[in-house]
Symmetry: C2
């Protein structure tokens, strides 16, 4: 994993869906979230299973940005704004956002 | 960031210390936690600042293991066991552990 230097930000989220595991709705949501990696400035995108018994989240998502301005551009991108309003807010039961930068 | 294939596990934690920011105790803890990367099987170790306004954690830690057996070996290593008992449990105010694997 490249270390976070020169203003890079790694944006992550862990989340659980309202949809049953293995359902078509779950699969459709995961496909939709994977499409976010097409938004300019998104780097090192990964969608993963969350496997720790120490929390109740089911999925993890991570991506990196070259700097805070790139991260802001992503946040404000129409595709991201639409995804949050149309998919994330209605379909995610619980989540936590985590952003990290160089120490 | 290498993708998580073939049983690889990325182990992460976000945490906040009991010590004041910028204190000598804080610096000493961060040095101690950085020494965990010397434990066999630890890969891709990173210690970072947590910068999201959406949670109250102050630091992030991530590392990877080739497979669950390597992760277990780390967890059971005497240096890790001692670190948790002597440093983590007394000095960490709040934390969340997150483990991710391939979807």
């Amino acid at each position: 994993m490249p270390t976070l230097t020169n203003g890079r930000v790694r944006h992550s989220a862990v989340f659980t869906l309202k949809h049953p595991e293995g359902s078509a709705e779950e699969a459709d949501f995961l496909e939709a979230i994977a499409r976010l990696q097409g938004i300019p400035a998104v780097e090192a995108f990964e969608l993963m299973r969350e496997v720790s018994p120490k929390n109740d989240f089911r999925f993890g998502l991570t991506m990196e940005f070259a700097d805070p301005a790139a991260y802001a551009a992503y946040n404000n991108h129409p595709d991201h704004v639409a995804f949050v309003a149309n998919r994330w807010d209605p379909e995610v039961a619980d989540f936590l956002e985590i952003d990290v930068a160089a120490l």
